[in-house]
């Protein structure tokens, strides 16, 4: 039932970069999904450990807290590539052509500025928990079983950096559309036309019997 956003592709450098990055983004998102699955397995182990072996899973909460950043961050660029993050499109939906691409360019640029700053801020957060001289390089650890927190904290700047790369590609795409006055630019999420949707829908229904 995966719905693929309509991002047009061709043989250009931009499109090849877009697809290359998309492969990475999909892997990161899958890691995030597997982490959710892992949470489920962890709970099953915890419950059965307590009830059948009278031995609770040590550090259950600590492990959950380590897994959460995987779930919360790793798919962030994947969602952006497909236009998945929530927005209000009442105004944007009414725009066409160069005005539309200009609006998209501006808001995407604002996002890029924000995310570059947050890469800085979240990396600083990581750095405060990291110390080459300390045991396990740790200057901040979890409550119960004292897991070092720096690997989990490092996930934020990593995922945010991938998002920055994605935003640069989208800026390139929107900028190109704005410059050339394109109607269907590549490498940016587009609103589908009715015919494309019908085709996608038909594919979807034959795809699964959910």
């Amino acid at each position: 039932m995966a719905v693929h956003a309509s991002v047009l592709e061709d043989g250009s450098t931009l499109s090849r970069l877009d697809r290359g990055l998309y492969r990475i983004e999909r892997v990161l998102a899958l890691i995030s999904g597997l982490a959710v699955f892992g949470l489920m397995v962890l709970a099953v182990l915890s419950v059965s450990g307590r009830n059948f072996f009278n031995q609770p899973l040590p550090g259950y909460v600590d492990w959950i807290q380590q897994a959460m950043p995987l779930i919360a961050f790793m798919g962030i660029a994947f969602a952006q590539r497909d236009g998945g993050h929530i927005r209000m499109d009442i105004l944007v939906g009414a725009l066409r052509g160069r005005v539309l691409w200009a609006a998209e360019f501006v808001t995407t640029l604002a996002m890029l500025v924000l995310m570059v700053l947050l890469v800085w801020g979240s990396f600083a957060h990581f750095q405060r928990s990291f110390d080459f001289a300390a045991p396990m390089w740790s200057r901040d650890s979890s409550f119960d079983i004292h897991l070092p927190l720096w690997p989990a904290k490092l996930l934020a700047p990593i995922a945010f950096s991938v998002l920055c790369v994605r935003l640069v590609l989208q800026l390139w795409g929107y900028g190109r559309a704005l410059w050339l006055g394109l109607s269907e630019p590549i490498a940016v999420p587009l609103v589908k036309s009715a015919a494309e949707q019908a085709a996608a829908e038909a594919e979807l229904l034959s795809d699964t019997d959910g």
């Binding site: 998102a29 995030s32 709970a43 801020g121 957060h125 989990a152």
Partner: protein, 466 residues
């Protein structure tokens, strides 16, 4: 400029960014970051030499929020509850529920829409997230309704509204978030949502029947099912009951013994059962991968909103806007029930512009203590209280009211997450179409909320047993 003025100015900037179509999570984070820079710089009297310092402190303060806020055990319920929803789709539960509902109540006026409401209510018992429920049913119910001639906007509206039931009927991610913010018993809150969820579904169904009777060409009933066909439709939907029992027993043991564990564990075990069912029904790696990808995508959307809004909330903390609001509310000289109604109305207005989770995170730290104080304090007895209920019961009652309001916000324009999701799944529908289709349900929700305010027993009966 005083911090409070900065708070108001930055809030205005946030609205402009959102209207311009910037992704909400990032608009909130950007507004929060700009606000933090402003506040820190103002502390140095806007000295140009100190701008670098203010920028650095603001960026580092904001940079803590994403990791800090998502690393929470309680929030781990959210992806788990979402995953149940997607796995249930592959376990065939969505189709089975919809089919059973169709055969049993399809003969009613507006039958297919009523069936959709009951099927979403049933699905709510395994799904913890409104948006996941709306997304799944948009794929199943909308095509069927379109086939027999429903208006596509109304069909989308039914699904968007039906999806909100998932947040009252346990398991519910947003009730968990409420419990975390106000530090109340997660289990009792989850139990308390059950009956109001059912009442809500009945009121939706009543509305649809009324509309079908009043409007010619609304969408024909689907009748002609024999009792044999009806009974045969039940067994495929029965596993839902199994999952419900697990989740309930992990919250509260109706047989009188100890509950079996915590809600976190109950949710995960429910997911595991559904996962096994999906495997038995022939789910392969490709479908599991799709379900995990969808879970990841919806989770990251929600978590991005959570940390984005919380960067903004962190800024509000420095601007002390919540404190100013609190002082104002408690200085009002009005009957407590009237103040409560005003608060709920304020939520309705705020919810037009905000996402549900963001709204609760933003307001509860301020509003919850005020409401508890209105009732007579945290430890007040039912006899001495303003609303006729003890402190802990008031916390539960207000929680259900606020979550119902927050769910209402999921279907109100301009920012209504459920409507965005339905429009996202069905690209032939614009967000505006879905908003138009869902409008009648505003009336149903208003009736539900009024009922819950007047008859608190609907909320409080179940938790009072636990």
């Amino acid at each position: 400029m005083e911090p409070i003025d900065i708070g108001i100015a930055v809030t205005a900037v946030l609205f402009v960014l959102v209207v311009l179509g910037m992704r909400v999570a990032f608009a909130a984070a950007l507004a929060g970051l700009v606000g933090l820079i402003w506040i820190f710089w103002s502390k140095k009297g806007y000295d140009p030499d100190e701008f670098g310092w203010a920028l650095s402190v603001a960026v580092k303060t904001a940079g803590q929020v994403p990791h800090s806020k998502v690393s929470s055990q309680a929030l781990s319920l959210i992806p788990t509850f979402i995953m149940i929803g997607y796995l249930a789709y592959y376990a065939g539960l969505t189709k089975a529920l919809f089919e059973a509902a169709k055969r049993w109540v399809g003969w009613l006026p507006g039958g297919l829409a009523v069936s959709t409401v009951f099927a979403t209510a049933g699905f709510a018992a395994v799904s913890g997230a409104s948006v996941a429920t709306a997304a799944v049913f948009a794929r199943i119910a909308i095509p069927e309704m379109l086939k027999i001639g429903y208006d596509k906007r109304f069909a989308a509206g039914v699904v968007a509204a039906g999806g909100t039931l998932a947040s009252l009927i346990p398991p519910s991610a947003i009730l968990v978030i409420y419990a975390i913010i106000v530090e109340q018993d997660v289990g009792k809150l989850l139990l308390a949502g059950f009956i109001p969820g059912v009442v809500s579904a009945l009121i939706y169904a009543g509305l649809i029947v009324g509309m079908a009777l009043a409007m010619p060409g609304f969408g024909p009933p689907v009748g002609g099912f024999t009792w044999g066909q009806r009974l045969r439709a039940l067994p495929p939907a029965l596993p839902i009951v199994f999952v419900v029992v697990i989740i309930i027993f992990f919250i509260y043991n109706p047989l009188g013994g100890d509950a079996w564990g915590t809600p976190t564990e109950g949710g995960a075990l429910g997911a595991f059962v559904v996962f096994v069912m999906a495997l038995l029904r022939g789910m392969r790696w490709r479908q599991l991968r799709d379900a995990l990808m969808e879970t990841a995508k919806l989770s990251v959307m929600i978590f991005t909103i959570i940390w984005g809004v919380l960067i903004y909330v962190r800024f509000l903390g420095f601007a002390d806007l919540p404190g100013a609001f609190s002082n104002w509310i408690t200085s009002l000289e009005m009957p407590p029930l009237l103040i409560l109604v005003c608060i709920l109305l304020a939520y309705a207005v705020l919810g037009m512009f905000m996402d549900a989770i963001g709204m609760l995170l933003l307001t509860l730290p301020v509003v919850y203590p005020a409401v508890m104080a209105l009732n007579g304090g945290e430890f007040v007895s039912a006899a001495d209280s303003a609303f006729g209920m003890s402190g802990p019961m008031c916390a539960i009652w207000f929680g259900i009211l606020v979550v119902k309001m927050a769910e209402f916000c999921l279907i109100t324009p301009p920012i209504g997450l459920n409507c965005f999701v339905v429009a996202g799944v069905r690209p032939d529908l614009s967000v505006q179409d879905v908003f138009r289709g869902v409008t009648p349900f505003f009336i149903a929700d208003a009736v539900t909320i009024a009922t819950l305010v007047m008859v608190p027993g609907i909320v409080l009966w179940l938790p009072s047993l636990a």
